[in-house]
């Protein structure tokens, strides 16, 4: 017990998993193998239809597209929470940036400016959240809910003022994919790979919107920054034992501000990508974001605060959603609302059964130099 032992399951291996996740991922894998065997042996059965759907490039395309806002927000959420500030307002950041991106792109006519405006709006709202939580010691959960509700009210309201309804106008020019962007060498290569049928579902990778590549880049970069750089070290220390960081001469507040603003940047990218993909912002009901910010939180908990893990769990969730429509066409109707609860069921199973998702020790706690906790 008192012996010094180096643990094998270090956070550094990027797919480190504990038992509960191995169990969940393992049973999913086993189910898939069984499904594929059954589907190949009996092509006319339900299993056969399911396998066909799972191997469709279009299924993979929508899995990737649906994942973009969720995965980007999840990586942002990881940074905030690792630093000790639980950002439950990701949903609000997605809403505000989804609206701001369309509005700015519509006004200026530039997709780039629109994307930037989406990020800016999200960062500003995240900054309000950061000041309220870090400077004024607000309860992070309540402040986060407020951020969501503010965005949920403000974005449709602004749409009503500018466009006379909860929805914005549609973008006149849609976002080009890499294959038809006319970039020398790159575009023709992507174009031909996208049509190479031996790649099967992997064709989807070359048909995707540039935001999909952004999502991969952010997840990998996020992992690197968190685990290999000085800043990442400080973020993790700030969320685990801020006093240790403070006594080492690093300003905890500054680290937390940076982390929360970074979550605004990533969520802003996600929100802008979401509305760009649809071509407009729709603001009725829960708006077009419709819980994606909360799924993002579930995804990073499921991925144990690892950006790569969060990305993979996002894929798990969005693939379930992507097979909805083809399933209904194939006559295997599973109610959509039921399937939408699956991510939450999954995370409750993981959190409850073994509970090995390791929440940063100081997450949710305010920190002030010179005060004993």
């Amino acid at each position: 017990m008192s012996e010094a032992t180096a643990d094998a399951g270090s956070d550094d291996s990027w797919l480190s998993m504990d038992n509960s996740r191995v169990l969940v991922v393992g049973s999913v894998a086993v189910a898939l193998v069984v499904l594929f065997l059954a589907g190949t042996l009996f092509p006319d059965s339900t299993a056969g239809a399911l396998v066909d759907i799972l191997l469709l490039p279009s299924t993979w395309s929508s899995t990737l597209t649906l994942a973009v806002p969720i995965a980007l927000a999840a990586v942002g959420g990881i940074f905030a929470e690792k630093s000790g500030v639980i950002n439950i307002g990701l949903e609000g950041l997605l809403i505000i940036s989804a609206f701001a991106a369309i509005f700015a792109a519509d006004t200026t006519g530039s997709l780039w400016l629109g994307f930037g405006a989406g990020i800016l709006a999200s960062v500003l709202l995240a900054a309000v959240f950061a000041v309220v939580c870090i400077e004024f010691r607000a309860n992070q959960i309540i402040a986060g809910l407020a951020i969501w509700l503010i965005a949920l009210g403000f974005a449709p309201f602004a749409a009503r003022i500018v466009y006379g309804g909860p929805n914005t106008a549609s973008l006149s020019n849609s976002v080009p994919t890499v294959r038809n962007a006319g970039i020398p060498v790159v575009s023709p290569v992507f174009d031909s790979l996208a049509e190479t049928s031996i790649l099967g579902p992997f064709q989807a990778l070359f048909r995707a919107s540039p935001t999909v590549y952004l999502m991969f880049a952010v997840a990998i970069l996020g992992w690197y920054v968190l685990n290999r750089t000085k800043f990442g070290m400080w973020v993790r220390a700030s969320g685990e034992n801020p006093k240790a960081l403070d006594t080492s001469g690093v300003n905890v507040h500054r680290v937390r501000y940076a982390a929360v603003l970074l979550s605004g940047v990533f969520a802003g990218m996600g929100g802008a990508a979401l509305s760009y993909n649809v071509g407009q912002f729709t603001g009725s009901g829960q708006t077009m974001v419709n819980g994606k910010g909360f799924i993002a939180i579930v995804a990073y908990l499921f991925g144990n605060y690892n950006p790569i893990g969060a990305l993979l769990s996002t894929f798990l969730f969005t693939m379930l959603e992507a097979i909805q429509t083809p399933l209904q066409y194939a006559g295997i109707g599973v109610p959509r609302t039921l399937v939408q609860t699956l991510p939450y069921v999954g995370v409750i199973v993981v959190l409850a059964l073994v509970g090995r998702t390791r929440i940063p020790a100081a997450a949710g706690d305010h920190y002030e130099t010179g005060e004993d906790r």
Binding site: M1, S2, E3, A4, T5, A6, D7, S10, D11, R228, T229, K230, M233, W234, R236, A237, E240, N241, K243, A244, L245, D246, T247, S248, G249, V250, R358, A361, T369, G370
Partner: protein, 525 residues
């Protein structure tokens, strides 16, 4: 000899309190200097001033003959001062090397990455130089407390500390680990480092320090060379009056068994077995002590006995009745009193006044409760009686419990529990964080209760305390009783080995023939 650090006329005031009052403290380079005093004497405040966590209202901080102003710990670190706090400032899921270099990480690739190899090498180099055995790649949560303390020391050395301040460094260590720490002190001072350590333990100050400065009520009441003083002189300086250091104890006159536990096994929240098949027996008129390093299952055992936690298995009997299934309330009514280890969490409601706190545990019973209504007049008389008899200061029943000093809070708890005239008392760390004067008083009360025929189970990690008070002494390690020994015959070294889980030959066989108490297990380790 040169002066490494000189605190000159330091005064630090907090609202309503003068924590340090014109304190002078010169410390020679290459020596170990102990800062001795009771809780609240201002030791930690003084060191926080030196480390830049507080700024002094008056006085000068002189380091290497240059006057300095430290606004933050960073300034102190830059001046070669390092501080190891009582509660370690470590990030549990990170490795030793990451913790040592936190905030001053070696970088590569133009700052794009932390040079982890260089960090590991630096830790290894430091370990070689000062003779530490610390694995740089191990995670903090996987290493022992003693190793964690070394990591804290490494952190300070890595930042170029010449003067190390350690706040109560021995509080969490086994006697052997304490010895190791003092050897580290020697190694560090041999290489020119200066050490200031805060303690309230006389023996440690005398053993490890070259010079001892005693603080009382924020004032320096004397600086003496360690080899020219006596424990009695130091105790008198600390308290301001003569103190009985040794508990005067008459031999026990044990009667019938009043409490017995048989085969108690407890699992914690994670399902790990923390108490393994422990049996014990306490007779009327005797004190059974349980010694051990904190965290070896004592808390869980005590909670199982007092009814705060369900054991996995085991039978408990109080005065011949099976109380295994009894609720906490029924155990209290059957005559079991409990002085909990944490008076803030379990002993008192800090926001309640003493009248309300005095009622806790008796809120169901007459005369305080009749037909569901409380009689506040009786409760007040009760609280005032406790305050009077147990010398609680200030003598004001309307005072909030949280406004009392630790010693007075503890005296009030002892009074409340003893007022129920218990047959059996479980006292856990009854004098932790309590000043010497109150400690003496609480010890007398415990022995008085024993002499009136109650059984006492005393759990403490302070060896002096359990050895001084117990009639029989069990040593607990990793959830098991290593041995039950006669505290009068066993040496501190033998107990220390048992606490560390080593079973030296011969100790458990000949010392105590009492049946049914020692666990006959040899398979450990």
């Amino acid at each position: 000899m040169t002066t490494a650090v000189h605190l000159d006329g330091i005064t630090k005031r907090f609202p309503g309190v003068v924590a340090n009052d014109d304190v002078d403290l010169p410390v020679e380079r290459g020596t170990v200097h102990a800062l001795l005093g009771e809780n609240g004497a201002g030791k930690t405040t003084l060191m926080n001033v030196l480390y830049g966590l507080y700024s002094a209202d008056e006085g000068r901080v002189i380091v290497d003959d240059v006057e300095r102003h430290f606004d933050t710990p960073r300034d102190a670190i830059d001046a070669g001062i390092g501080m190891i706090h009582q509660h370690f400032m470590l990030v549990d899921p990170m490795t030793v090397a990451e913790n040592v270099t936190l905030g001053s990480e070696p970088r590569k690739w133009g700052g794009l990455a932390v040079d982890r190899d260089a960090a590991t090498r630096s830790v290894e180099d430091l370990c070689d130089r000062y003779g530490f055995d610390v694995p740089p790649e191990a995670r903090i949560e996987d290493v022992s407390v003693g190793v964690q303390q070394r990591v804290e020391i490494l952190k300070a050395l890595y930042r170029g500390a010449d003067t190390l301040i350690l706040d109560e460094p021995t509080a969490v260590l086994t006697p052997q680990e304490v010895e190791d720490l003092f050897e580290v002190f020697d190694e560090l001072t041999d290489q020119g480092k200066t050490i200031i350590f805060i303690t309230h333990k006389l023996g440690e100050a005398m053993h490890a320090a070259d010079e001892i400065t005693v603080l009382r009520d924020g004032q320096n009441v004397g600086t003496v060379p360690a080899d020219e003083t006596t424990r009695e002189q130091l105790a008198e300086l600390m308290v301001g009056r003569e103190v009985l250091l040794e508990v005067e104890k008459t031999p026990a006159d044990p009667g019938d068994e009043v409490f017995a536990a048989d085969g108690v096994t407890v699992r914690d929240e994670r399902g790990i077995e923390v108490v393994s098949d422990v049996s014990l027996s306490v007779r009327e008129g005797e004190v059974l002590g349980i010694a051990g390093v904190d965290g070896n299952g004592q808390s869980e055992l005590v909670e199982a006995l007092t009814g705060l936690r369900d054991p996995t298995s085991g039978r408990l009997s109080l005065a011949g009745d099976d109380v295994s299934e009894h609720s906490r309330r029924r155990r209290i009514e059957a005559g079991m009193a409990y002085i909990p280890e944490d008076r803030h969490e379990q002993g008192l409601v800090m926001d309640f006044d003493l009248v309300e706190n005095g009622l806790l545990g008796s809120q169901h019973s007459p005369p305080y409760a009749r037909r569901g209504r409380l009689s506040w007049n009786d409760a007040r008389r009760h609280a005032e009686a406790i305050i009077d008899e147990y010398d609680v200061r200030p003598p004001n029943a309307d005072a909030r419990a949280g406004s009392l000093s630790g010693g007075n809070q503890q005296k009030f708890i002892v009074g409340r529990e003893f007022a129920r005239d218990p047959r059996f008392v479980v006292a856990m760390h009854p004098t932790r964080g309590v000043d010497i004067g109150s400690t003496e008083f609480i010890h007398e009360q415990l022995l008085g209760l024993r002499d009136r025929g109650a059984g006492v189970l005393l759990v403490s990690s302070q060896l002096d305390e359990v050895r001084g008070l117990s009639d029989r002494l069990a040593v607990m390690h990793d959830g098991e009783f290593m041995a039950v020994v006669d505290p009068a015959e066993v040496t501190e070294e033998e107990i220390g080995l048992l606490m560390a889980g080593e079973r030296p030959g011969g100790v458990d066989e000949d010392a105590e023939p009492e049946p049914s108490t020692a666990q006959a297990d040899g398979g450990e380790r």
